[in-house]
Symmetry: none
Subunit: 208 residues, 4 copies
DNA sequence: CATGAATGAGGTTTCATTCAT
DNA sequence: CATGAATGAAACCTCATTCAT
């Protein structure tokens, strides 16, 4: 948890710092990410980071927590997640190019978290508790609505679902990050097309 | 590419060094991996590593190349990959607990490569040429045998396939690595069961 | 060029660091000079050196630049170099035991630069532009004043002049450095005598 | 002194080794010179160097000794040094482009020796004893022949003489080494012209 | 005696973290 | 609370020298 000092900052400044950190972490991974780069990008002094966070690790973990919260909030504004099934969720949340466009780095960052050995445990504790919970909720919703097979264990279904959707996200996110591509109409169209196919495969696989 | 010196070593010693390196890389990731640990585990002097490889990075990249080769060789001994379809491949190669048991670390290592920003490109250049080729071959075989839908683009199908199977591999690999679990009968049974389900989802999704 | 950080230091501290470096470089040459020795002598942490300079090489090159500037400044205080002829310059600048006493190491260091293969070019680029210019100026002044033969090319004359004066400087500088001799009256007298003779040889050679 | 083993080698091989060493020393200085480079260039194994010489330092010092001997021998073949005066020596020995062409590196190397702090003492002991001796001999000869002023101390004259001739040598040697220039007719002509002027300055300075 | 792989001490460089201003 | 210079532990890498074959 950040220090009190951090929470006393204006919300915008907090966000600036976190986004600067996430940018650096995505770009170089945890180890190679430099605190000084983060500070420079955030427009603050290196020392200030340590006024806000105990150390780099704590900063990282808080970024994870914050990312998830932001992402969920964005999602919630669009639709009520508590009632969505997995396919709706996919279409609304991940597949919306608007979300992707606004939050490329956050989404990428969230995928990358599990890639940091030694940080997985604490950060995922913060995140995956939430993810797993809402994931299972989605599966439950889907079964209740009768859009998903009920003869297969929830965990398996969730795994299968996450596998396909994460892969899909990664492919597109990385494409955008690498090329610093704007999301053009053609790109958007191509993505939508691919998404439709993935969704079809998903549905055939796990749907009724 | 390693230096000449490395290739002049006895094959066993080469393997010892590479496996020591892979072990360290899997355990700590590229940055935190210490050359001195690798050397100690391989039973050689730190300096020797630098007789064999230009630097840590080159060692890493060669590990990637070597891992893929080893893995493919093991696979080839079991069945003729040139004629397999994707489902057979999954069952024979990835799903065989024997392979997993023997080569846990190699498999994990290969999955982890994409987690190292800056190393992905060069490592995958070494690996992907091969992977993509054999991946597309598998898809082609599958379509020819009539076990896979022909109405969807090869790339999409491959992506879908890799998403599911990699996720599956990861879950189980990590489980084994973390607990340093031996593959007990129960574990094996549980894995087989899960694999069967995944395979079913896969088949329903992309199969005819 | 040093990093910004260096120039933000107080002038005295800058000088302390540079003199510590020059001391070490003169004592051991570039390769054997240890950054840690420099830091210790300057009373700062080893890491600080790297806050100021990119690496040891950049430090060396900046020492070269700085040395020349310091030396020229000292000289300028005594007399107006822009109007001196070569013989006046020799007597005022090089031959003054006061200058030598104060700036032994700087002078030695400047002579030594040409002994570092690979560093010569970049260091001298910084220095020689200045030196050549002021050297040619001296020759020009001398010709104008009619104290030097006009029938010989400037370059040749400058070379001849530098040869004799540098050799002279070297002999005495090294003597002082080696013995860590104070400049006693006897020494001073001996030096003056030798200087007078060298000057005579110089004058007969190139003078009118 | 080299080990016995070295002297048992065929003369040509001895020379190959020494020239390889000198080449490397001239190119990089003592510290940066790599034993392995020397061995490779000499076409022998790195270990062999250590069969011949105690260590790199001993090799360096022997190179110094050998260089001087070679150089003197070449000189002797042209004229009898024991009777030359300084001007004759300059013209015959240093100024002959043939010598320079054949023995660029040796000549450069000899100049560089005094640039290696820590090696100066032992190597110069071997060399400068000789040089100083023959230098003084030349001065004596010159005084006896009446071509040089007798009212100035031998040491001063020698210093003056060495200053001018060394500077001259250095300029031309480095030019040839840097550009790997062949000694073309134009170059040779330019050098001769410059030499004539230097000689004139020298003569006017110290001559009667 | 030749070879070249093995060694490891020693040095440079990095960068998270601290701390004085 | 902000700043950014200072710190030094820790890691990479080099290469002279040794040594087994």
């Amino acid at each position: 948890m950040p220090k009190e000092t951090f929470f006393r900052l204006k919300d915008e400044k907090q966000e600036t710092v976190l986004r600067a950190a996430i940018h650096e972490f995505v770009k170089h991974g945890f180890e190679r990410a430099k605190v000084s780069n983060i500070a420079r990008k955030a427009g603050i002094a290196k020392g200030s980071i340590y006024q806000y966070f105990e150390d780099k690790k704590e900063l990282y973990i808080y970024c994870a927590e914050w990312s998830l919260r932001i992402f969920m909030e964005k999602l919630d504004k669009r639709a009520n997640i508590t009632e969505m099934d997995v396919f709706e969720y996919f279409e609304n949340g991940v597949g919306k190019s608007k979300t992707i466009d606004e939050e490329r780095e956050i989404i990428i960052f969230m995928q990358y978290i599990s890639r940091e050995p030694g940080l997985i445990a604490p950060s995922l504790k913060a995140m995956y508790n939430a993810t797993e919970l809402y994931g299972k909720r989605l599966i439950q919703n889907s079964k209740n609505k009768g859009v998903v097979r009920v003869d297969i264990d929830d965990d398996i279904l969730l795994d299968y679902y996450l596998a396909v959707t994460e892969k899909f996200k990664m492919r597109w996110m990385e494409r955008y990050l690498d090329f610093t591509t704007e999301i053009t109409k053609e790109n958007d169209k191509a993505m939508k097309a691919e998404m439709a196919l993935m969704l079809e495969l998903l549905k055939r696989g796990m749907g009724c």
